[in-house]
């Protein structure tokens, strides 16, 4: 079974907007055993739309239209699909009543053009939209003209996502041949994508019937997506789990997550379990480390705070780095990284302290200390561990690498 996903809207043909719904739909369809063969993006002109719909129906078993279901004259998806199928549109009184009630609840009178949202292609099932006004439509054709599944979904991502999950998955399961598909996602820290592929390829290529995708996440994170299909869910799960185990053996403790969690989530989980707290003093990452940690809801339970020590004077005032240490070794040094970690730990009275100092570029590098050089320190009150790395890439990538490295040191400490 193959699918085509069609995104409708002239704004998606400007340099400013992009269809992202299709990524969600692709993941959902793959899980049902349907591969996506084509994606098309088209504007609001009826003739273009009709042409695109005709082409899609000639080459895909499942065709999903996204967008163009609103009340304005630009919203032509209903008309287009009806025309291509040669079926009439029928206005459903129940939908129009519901719409009118929605407006009335806000004290508004409904403009007449909104009634168009009640137009349903003959033979289609109506998909309720709990998060917006435009209902979707689901059409299963199985007659002398052929066999096709056609779905009309609203464009706004939160409406589309909910409607697909609540109203389409089960309908598709009933119509599609039973497929049992299990997925797993491993995340590997602080190794490059090509290095991961080199070590993983011999393992996943030897595994029968499991599709493996290697994907570079943000710098310092490589993802391995595993997908297996079998005659029973148990068998499919057994297959991905077996491959996941082999990969975990190969990469050992470089695997930081086996269910899709981020490194900051894992670190937060470990800190919470140990009832430990963390404080950070960061220079070249400029707040990115603290921001990454605090992006996790509930992080206030284990993260006390920290200092962004950009200027040397602030390294001294807020993180208690001895001025002589900076004079002697330079701000970007093993010694200053350690002093930052120890200093911020003492200032904030946390279990652990992290210090980061480095050169994110583009300026400020030298032969001896090039752009990309970063020192990361972790202090626990007894020992202070320092890791020196030289990261590739631009300012943004170097800052992300350094943030992941620091978090990974905490993870390994707590593992």
């Amino acid at each position: 079974m193959n699918a085509e996903i069609i995104a409708i809207g002239s704004e998606l043909l400007t340099p400013f907007r992009q269809d992202t719904n299709s990524l969600f739909l692709t993941a959902q369809l793959n899980r049902l055993g349907v591969e996506v063969s084509f994606k098309t993006i088209v504007g609001d002109r009826l003739s273009d739309l009709v042409r695109v719909a005709r082409t899609a129906l000639s080459r895909a078993d499942v065709v999903i239209f996204m967008g163009g279901l609103g009340p304005t004259e630009d919203d032509l998806t209903r008309e287009c699909v009806a025309e291509v199928l040669g079926r009439p549109l029928q206005r459903h009184a129940r939908i129009v009543e519901d719409l009118r009630a929605r407006f009335a609840a806000r004290g508004w009178k409904m403009a007449e053009n909104n009634e168009r949202q009640g137009d349903v292609i003959a033979g289609a099932e109506i998909l309720d939209n709990k998060r917006g006004s435009a209902p979707g439509q689901f059409l299963h054709i199985d007659d002398e003209n052929g066999n096709a599944i056609i779905i009309l979904l609203p464009g706004p991502p939160h409406e589309l996502t909910a409607m697909f999950e609540e109203n389409c998955v089960e309908r598709l399961q009933r119509l599609l041949p039973a497929k049992y598909i299990a997925i797993r996602e491993l995340k590997i820290g602080m190794l490059g994508e090509s290095m991961v592929d080199k070590r993983a390829a011999p393992i996943y290529k030897a595994a029968q019937g499991i599709e493996t995708t290697i994907l570079a996440g943000s710098p310092g994170e490589v993802q391995l997506h595993l997908r297996a299909q079998a005659d029973s869910m148990e068998e499919a799960q057994k297959r991905v789990d077996a491959l996941a185990s082999l990969l975990e053996d190969e990469f050992e403790d470089a695997v930081f997550s086996s269910k899709g969690e981020s490194l900051a989530q894992i670190v937060g989980y470990y800190l919470g379990m140990r009832e430990a707290t963390l404080a950070v003093a960061e220079s070249c990452t400029g707040g990115l480390l603290a921001e990454t940690i605090t992006s996790i809801p509930g992080s206030s339970r284990y993260f006390l705070g920290g200092a962004v020590v950009y200027d040397n004077s602030v390294k001294i005032t807020l993180a208690g780095v001895p001025p002589l240490l900076i004079a002697e070794h330079g701000a970007v040094s093993k010694q200053v990284a350690a002093a930052l970690a120890e200093g911020i730990r003492a200032q904030c009275k946390s279990t652990f302290g992290i210090g980061i100092t480095g050169i994110a570029g583009p300026g400020g590098g030298s032969q001896e200390k090039p752009v990309g050089l970063v020192f990361h320190a972790l202090a626990d009150g007894k020992d202070t561990e320092v890791v020196e790395r030289t990261f590739p890439g631009d300012r943004d990538r170097i800052r992300h690498w350094a943030t992941q490295q620091a978090l990974d040191m905490v993870r390994r400490k707590l593992m």
Copy 2:
């Protein structure tokens, strides 16, 4: 003139990857007076590719193929286009020699399949690829079969971007009717998209022949993209500038940028001009404010650093907030925001100090102090200004709103 952009590669039909090259190409084509009517994404199967190419040539004047130009058996774009046009592929000795030299320079022997990259469709011009191995192709057809411009570009973004700018723009200009298109981009701070549209629509709708796009950037930033086409560049520029002036009059000092700069860049520019420095003490934004400021290269000239004061004890130690103030008014209060700004300014000896305290959620809200409530303070040593806002959205959006609000206070102070 209209165009279709075709992205080729089975990885673009997975849930993990997305074509982004088409946004760059759309901006470039629009500047040449060409609208994009269709975008198609297709995998590596030859029959699918041929079908897509045939459809595109039947409905667009300019067809751009991206990807599938490499040496592997999956790279079929050359074969596909040649087949659809009914033209032979000719292997160019010069390209093959260049490829062989590339390999030799690295001490490698070239595998034979690489020679396929020297296959050129009869009649096509070769587009050199300075950043990769696969050359592009440019074909202008103007015969009894019709009129079309066909471009084959490599998939990797840095190769595609350079090749289009260096080898395609001028070629297209020579073939396309002369168009003079001027663009402007205004950015407006701290207003919602619908409010901006409500006030801007009467103005831009009255302006003849200027296309206006309103776009929500990150929370706290709305962009107005203006594009005018005229018989001379002078006239086109005059038109967008005139509309930009009217919009600047309407939104006054809410317009923070008129050439696309970010708010952090503008604030950095003002601080640099005044030789002023900045320090921040942030609670609910958790490092995002510092991170946003330091994402700008050269920010160490005006940003001294700051504190991420997540725990109340850290508000006291690192930013010098009096403990009694927190006890009396609560950590999320006007008074604590002001104390954070004044305290961090004193600690870091900066010209300006910013303090932020609020509730980013999802937990921690109350009837009196709901999720989204944020206090922002700016201290200059004489006065301390405090702004209270309640922002909509989730944790991530609230943190971005608060960051923009704080930066906007500095901008207004320095304007």
